[in-house]
């Protein structure tokens, strides 16, 4: 508590009172009326004590002075004082705590008298602080308070109230007691007594209790009470609100004060009535408790009473349910006893008729001369089954005896090893027939065992029989050992094993493990239970140890006879046969003596085929005989699984099946048949030993057509079989017709369900793919699909084909499949999606047509044609070989294809697909394989693992070619592949030779053309291009010529002979020579053409040649020209205007005798560009020649600012058709003036002549005077620099000056061969460089190791 907000009031306030509410109230006490007087007068000791008290947050009160005046702090007020505050402040303590003064007064007296502190823990005090006398508990200490003189004048009490803790623990104790051990109370009475005892221990919270239970008539009956000396009369119950309690309500009710008070002085004033609730039903009754009058009925108290009642109710429920269970168990035991007695009686009743069956049968068998084998078989059958029945009856009898305690065991000291070994020998034949190993390890034991031999026989025989029944591979081991006071017999098998959760119930009677795979489903589940009982009779134990799937070991331990006992029991084969024989006979029937014939028994004529399914071999034999006699062909199966396989492989006309069978029982077998469309209609007759309507309904429900209960009469069976077959035949007539139709198809036919699982196929299917009906159903991916690993594409294609059938009504594909024997079959697949009109189910109906032969033929054709095409496109051997390798690689497909050419000297050179490889990069093995194949016959592929696939050798124009394909190891190299590779190799060889020949021809032609095409040296200012036609690459008849004539003029010629190849080139050469000769003789273009016309007239093949001939005078810039049918030249002025030189056109050469050629003239402006060409440049399929000319003119116009070298390249590039030029092209470009090129010695005296030459050239360029002067100055400075610095140490060096003018730009380049350091400070040469930069637009100085190049250019503005 803080002082904030609390204002000290009243005159009596002193600092000791602190600033809280208690302090304020203390200050308001009229202290003058107390012995202590006004606070201001209080001694320091009192003030200090009050100060400590008030400021403490621990609960305290104190008393001071002669009247023990009362003080307390806020904590005490809150915890303890209750309504007495603030009245208590300043009062004498005796008044304040008057009600407990008898308890505390003496303690206070003692403190004041002795000065020694007191200590009380959880003292019960009845406080009157809440308006009633309240049970409360306090832990406190009184300690003395002294004044300044050391006299004890008061006391301080430090207290903590523990009421809640004490009462809480008390109630918890009661609840704990009630829940402690309910198991002791087995009846309702016992429980109520127990609960009453516990409730009575808490007489403070529960002064009295009464437990009422509702009776069946709804009346509440007092069933228990506490707190009363004597159980009260029943009438008391009528006073309670029973109706509300029956509704599940708790009710508080006022009491007569006369009720028991429990631990208190006065009885309770109220009682709480709470229902005894039970889950899901009306309350059992109600619980009444008197309430402690010294405590309020708060939530804690009410909760406690309800929990206590809950415990009582739970106990009642437990007791009642225990009683119910007990009654049920007793009823069951009674039933069991009755059953045993019944079994016992019935078994006895069985024995007599059984003896009368087996006995006479045996005597019949023993009688000499039993006529026929068949009858003997049947008698054996009767005897065997009689024995089996006898064995079962005997076992049941044994149980009955044991149950009834009447088993009379005859114990004799016996040699257990000998007895056991003897028994095992009985079973050896059966176990070995089953193909199992049988190990008997029974060494003599040190002491005899007290044994009833007949019972021990049953133990061992049951164990062995059990092991054999569940073991299919491996073996059975019998091991006998001494282990202390016990002999231990272990029978271990390697059978199916037992699941861990089944082990605990293994020895339970009639417990059988469901669905366990066994040799026979027969058996009653009684064998091991009997073993346990019999071993117990011997004072021994049986344990089982098993791992599912690995086997089971059963271990029997029986005690040895006491030390010194002598063996008295006799052993002998006669003694055991009677018991052992039925075991052996039964076991032998599980193990077929000889493999049963597979397939149907022979019968005359068109007999019906019946499949008999039964796990009992005798029953199978019997039914087979019966039905065969009736004229059917019979096949058998031992369980449902085997039967399903048999049915799917070869559909019978009727199935007779047992119901109880291992693996797959009859009901599930029928269900499986019905679930499969192909077998759904086969009639099935079920046979069962289980009689009764329910069993037969279950059988018919599963889909069986008929149901026969064992035992059945032979005649009835035969009649029903016949009836069912006839009925089915009527029903299936249509289906048979359809089946016959489908089987007659030559194409593989199949039906698949919607998910692609193939459920029906015809005979052709099995023939084409090798997969027959015995493998049905075939779920996708079907086994004939191409392997997903080696042929992922094929696999994918097949998967997609089937997937597409889902949403497409018809689909056709050609796909590879794999025959069962591994060879590849190509099939044409047709798939249709159809609906079953009855069920609406979708099925896929499809056919496969074998097109393997066609496929390979087509493949060969396609491979050859592709290879031919690719070879024909190649221009060189290398190109051809690369194309062929690529084709081979994708054809197979191969991971790599390599070709090695061994030249005449045997030197190898390698070419391969993929990354570049050299001969040296190959492995030794690869090199060996490629080298060795040269020894093979040509064109005969062999597979060489060293090369990773097939290798083949063929001829190459330069030697021998070894070819290797590296193919996937999973991809077999088939005969078809071999044929194809040989074919392709041969084709490749021929192709290479052809390419080689063509290549040689062309090389020759090109060399020739280059020789005759044009001058080796052209006059300055000309750039020429010749481009042969691309495909086929051939020489042509186009030419150009430019020759400087005697008078300084230049003759220009561009011509085009018709045709291509060597012939055209030859004619072109002659025309070109003639034209040049004519020009030199008379430089008039029209006369040249006239002369050439005459020349061509006498030259076969020269007719129709077109020629453009011109003579250019550089001085006057005048071009005189004439054209013989040639496309016009293009002239582009510096300002971009285009002129076509079409002013002097006449007919091509040698077309018409006496053709007149007249000249035309044109002045070529300075820096104009002239372009002459042949029609290959401008002719394009689909567009006019004019459009081509316009396009070329546009290119020239747009390129007039760049050098003519670049211009020529640009024209050729821009005009190149996508697949190259189809016709050859000759082109000639001239720009006037030609670039100036001067070379001069590094001598200052050369500056003037160079300058004069440059001045002359610049004037030809038709430039403004100022520009000429600028260029002269800049070039002069560059030359002076070159002389002065570049050649300071090499005066013999040469300087070159080149000047070239484009339309709007002029470039000067000065190159020296020396070192050219710049700028050298403070010399006038530095000024020279500045001058160059000032007058030219752009100057670069590029020093290099061989000299310095100064390049300058400037713009030409018109």
């Amino acid at each position: 508590v803080t002082s904030e907000g609390v204002t000290p009031t009243g005159s009596g306030w002193i600092p000791a009172f602190a600033h809280d509410e208690v302090g304020r109230d203390l200050s308001e006490v009229d202290w003058s009326t107390t012995p202590l007087g006004a606070p201001a007068t209080w001694p320091q000791s009192l003030q200090t004590a009050v100060s400590i008290l008030v400021s403490s947050r621990f609960s305290m009160w104190m008393a001071w002075g002669p009247q023990l005046t009362f003080f307390c702090n806020a904590a005490y007020r809150r915890d303890t004082l209750g309504r007495k505050y603030p009245w208590a402040l300043g009062r004498p303590a005796r008044e304040v705590w008057a009600e407990i003064w008898p308890d505390i007064g003496p303690r206070i007296e003692s403190v004041l008298a002795t000065g020694t502190a007191t200590w009380d823990e959880a003292l019960l005090l009845f406080l009157e602080r809440s308006g009633y006398s309240e049970e409360s508990y306090h832990t406190f200490s009184y300690s003395p308070l002294r004044d300044e003189t050391g006299r004890v004048v008061g006391m301080l009490c430090v207290v903590s109230e523990e009421t809640d803790r004490v009462i809480g623990e008390r109630r918890m104790g009661t609840l704990r007691d009630l829940g402690s051990d309910p198991s002791i109370a087995r009846t309702e009475r016992e429980w109520l007594d127990f609960a009453g005892d516990r409730l009575a221990r808490n007489r403070r919270d529960l002064p009295f209790t009464m437990t009422y239970l509702f009776q069946s008539d709804g009346r509440a009956q007092l069933a228990g009470a506490t707190g009363f000396g004597r159980l009260p009369a029943d009438e008391v119950g009528h006073a309670w609100p029973a109706v509300a309690a029956a509704r599940g309500e708790a009710v508080l009710t006022d009491l007569d004060p006369a009720m028991p008070a429990g631990d208190w002085a006065e009885g309770p004033q109220q009682a709480l009535v709470v229902p005894l609730l039970q889950q899901g039903a009306p309350p059992f009754g109600f619980f009444v408790t008197g309430l402690n009058r010294y405590r309020p009925l708060d939530q804690g108290y009410r909760g406690f009473v309800e929990l206590a009642a809950g415990h009582v109710a739970a106990g009642i429920a437990g007791a009642r349910s225990y009683q119910a269970q007990l009654r049920r168990a007793e009823e069951l035991a009674e039933l069991d006893r009755a059953k045993t007695t019944f079994f016992s009686n019935v078994s006895h009743e069985f024995r007599t008729p059984l003896s009368l069956i087996v006995g006479p049968v045996q005597s019949l068998l023993d009688r000499p001369g039993v006529p026929d084998e068949g009858m003997r078989d049947e008698l054996e059958l009767i005897k065997r089954n009689g024995l089996r029945l006898g064995k079962l009856v005997n076992t049941l009898l044994d149980f009955s005896r044991i149950e009834a305690g009447r088993m009379q065991a005859q114990f004799e000291p016996a040699d257990l090893a000998a007895a056991t070994t003897e028994l095992t020998s009985v079973f050896r034949s059966a176990i070995e027939k089953a193909g199992l190993a049988f190990v008997v390890d029974c060494p003599p034991l040190p002491r005899p065992v007290a044994l009833d031999r007949s019972l021990w026989e049953k133990v061992v025989l049951n164990l062995l029989s059990n092991a054999l029944k569940f073991t299919f591979d491996g073996g059975i081991t019998v091991r006998l050992r001494a282990d202390g006071e016990y002999a231990e017999l272990g029978v271990a098998d390697t059978g199916i094993g037992i699941a861990a959760e089944e082990l605990p119930r293994l020895f339970e009677r009639f417990h059988r493990i469901e669905n366990a795979r066994s040799r026979s489903n027969e058996g009653s589940g009684i064998g091991l239970a009997l073993v346990l009982e019999l071993v117990n009779l011997h004072g021994g134990t049986v344990t089982a140890d098993s791992t599912l799937g690995h086997g089971t070991t059963l271990t029997v331990r029986v005690p040895f006879a006491p030390e010194g006992t002598r063996i008295t029991a006799q052993s002998g084969p006669t003694a055991l046969s009677a018991t052992a024989d039925p075991f052996l006979q039964e076991a032998l029937r599980w193990v077929p003596a000889a493999p049963e014939p597979v397939g149907y028994t022979a019968a005359a004529g068109v007999a019906s085929r019946v499949l008999v399914v039964d796990d009992n071999a005798d029953m199978r034999d019997y039914l087979t005989r019966l039905l065969a006699t009736a004229g059917h062909r019979v096949s058998t199966a031992a369980d449902g699984e085997a039967a399903l396989d048999a049915v799917r492989a070869d559909e019978p006309d009727l199935v007779i099946s047992d119901v109880m069978m291992p693996r797959l029982d009859g009901l599930h077998f029928v269900a499986a048949l019905r679930a499969d469309a192909r077998t759904a209609s086969i009639p099935v007759i079920l046979l069962s030993a289980r009689a009764g309507q329910e069993a037969s309904i279950e059988g018919l429900d599963s889909g069986a057509d008929d149901y026969l209960v064992k035992p059945f009469s032979a005649a009835e069976l035969v009649a029903r079989v016949r009836a069912n077959i006839e009925l089915a035949q009527v029903r299936t007539h249509h289906a048979r017709w359809r089946a016959a139709l489908v089987d007659s198809l030559q194409e593989a036919f199949f039906i698949a369900d919607e998910d692609g699982t193939i459920v029906e196929i015809n005979a052709a299917f099995a023939r084409i793919l090798g997969f027959g009906p015995d493998g049905l159903p075939y779920a996708p991916p079907h086994p004939w699909w191409p392997d997903a690993r080696t042929d992922p594409d094929g696999h994918q294609a097949m998967a997609e084909a089937f997937a597409s059938a889902d949403h497409q009504t018809r689909a056709r594909f050609t796909l590879p499949v794999t025959h069962r024997d591994g060879h590849r079959v190509w099939v044409a697949v047709a798939l249709s999606l159809v609906s079953n009109p009855d069920t609406g189910d979708k099925v896929i109906v499809g056919t496969f047509r074998d097109i393997t032969a066609e496929h390979y033929a087509i493949q060969r054709e396609s491979a050859l044609s592709t290879l031919s095409t690719r070879l024909s496109e190649a221009d060189s051997l290398t190109e051809a070989l690369a194309a062929a390798l690529d084709e081979l690689r994708s054809r197979w497909p191969a991971t790599a294809v390599r070709a090695v050419v061994f030249d005449r000297h045997g030197r190898p050179s390698l070419m391969s697909t993929g990354p570049h490889q050299d001969w040296g990069d190959l492995t030794d093995q690869q090199r060996a394989a490629l080298t060795a194949v040269r020894e093979q016959p040509l064109l005969a592929p062999i597979v060489d693992p060293r090369a990773g696939g097939p290798v083949v050798c063929l001829e190459h124009p330069e030697g021998l070619l070894a070819l290797s394909l590296e193919v996937s190891a999973h991809r077999p190299f088939t005969t078809e592949d071999q044929t194809l590779l040989a074919l392709l190799a041969a084709h490749l060889g021929q192709g290479l030779h052809r390419v080689h020949q063509i290549h040689q021809q062309r090389e020759t032609a090109l060399a020739l053309q280059r020789a005759i095409l044009g001058p080796a040296h052209l006059p300055d200012g000309f750039v020429v291009r010749y481009e042969p036609a691309t495909r086929p690459l051939q020489v042509g008849g186009d030419w150009y010529d430019a020759v400087t004539l005697a008078d300084g003029r230049i003759g220009i010629v561009v011509g085009d002979c018709v045709g291509r190849g060597l012939e055209a080139a030859t004619i072109m050469g002659q025309l070109r020579s003639a034209c040049r000769a004519l020009l030199l003789k008379d430089p008039r273009p029209d006369e040249v053409l006239t002369g050439l016309d005459r020349f061509a007239d006498g030259l076969p093949g020269a007719a129709c040649t077109t020629v453009f001939c011109g003579v250019f005078d550089p001085a006057s810039r005048c071009l005189t020209y004439a054209s013989a049918g040639h496309p016009p030249g293009i002239l582009v002025d510096p300002d971009g205007s285009v002129h076509l030189l079409d002013g002097a056109n006449s007919l091509p050469l040698a077309v018409q005798a006496g053709t007149r050629h007249s000249p035309a003239r044109v002045t070529i402006a300075a820096r104009a560009t002239l372009l002459l060409y042949t029609d290959g440049l401008v002719e394009r399929r689909g567009t006019s020649i004019d459009a081509g000319i316009r396009h070329v003119a546009d290119i020239v116009r747009d390129s007039r600012h760049i050098s003519i070298h670049e211009l020529a390249a640009r024209v050729m590039t821009h005009r190149t058709p996508p697949d190259g030029y189809v016709d050859d092209v000759a082109m000639l470009v001239y720009r006037h003036p030609a670039p100036l090129q001067v070379a001069f010695p590094a001598d200052a005296n050369q500056l003037a002549p160079v300058r004069h030459a440059l001045r002359h050239w610049l004037s030809e360029c038709a430039l403004p005077t100022e520009l000429i002067q600028d260029v002269l100055v800049a070039a002069g400075e560059a030359c002076a620099n070159a002389i002065e610095h570049g050649h300071r140490h090499r005066p013999d060096g040469t300087i070159r000056l080149v000047a070239e003018a484009a339309t709007d730009r002029l470039t000067v380049q000065v190159t020296d061969t020396g070192e050219w350091k710049e700028p050298e400070p403070s010399l006038h040469r530095g000024r020279g460089l500045a001058l160059m930069r000032a007058v030219m637009h752009h100057v670069t100085v590029t020093p290099g190791p061989d000299g310095t190049v100064v390049t300058m250019d400037t713009r030409i503005t018109p």
């Binding site: 500056l1247 003037a1248 100022e1266 002067q1269 002069g1276 400075e1277 001058l1331 007058v1335």
Partner: protein, 98 residues
């Protein structure tokens, strides 16, 4: 061979014709210096370049190193070069039309 002719029409006046480059700049310098010596320092020498067709940086160097004692008369042809080299800033350069 670069050709240049020098004329002295009167005292304090020098008329040059032809071309001046590195090969004859020494000759050009000599001609000016002679004329300067003859005039005896009475006044600046007028160098008339109106008939010079070509003048390179070697020639300008000659003019610049004697700028305090000469005045230059030129045609428009040479004016840009002389201006670029800053001659008008150190002496009088007079341009006359042809």
């Amino acid at each position: 061979m670069t050709t240049m002719t020098v004329d002295v029409p009167g005292e304090g006046e020098l008329v040059v014709r032809g071309e001046i480059d590195m090969s004859n700049s020494a000759e050009f310098a000599g001609a000016i210096d002679t004329a300067l010596g003859d005039s005896g320092g009475s006044g600046p020498l007028t160098v008339d370049l109106t008939a010079v067709e070509y003048l390179d940086s070697a020639g300008i160097h000659v003019l610049l190193t004697r700028a305090s004692r000469i005045v230059v008369v030129t045609s428009p042809l040479l004016l840009p070069v002389l201006t670029i080299c800053g001659l008008p800033q150190v002496t009088s350069v007079r341009c006359v039309d042809d």
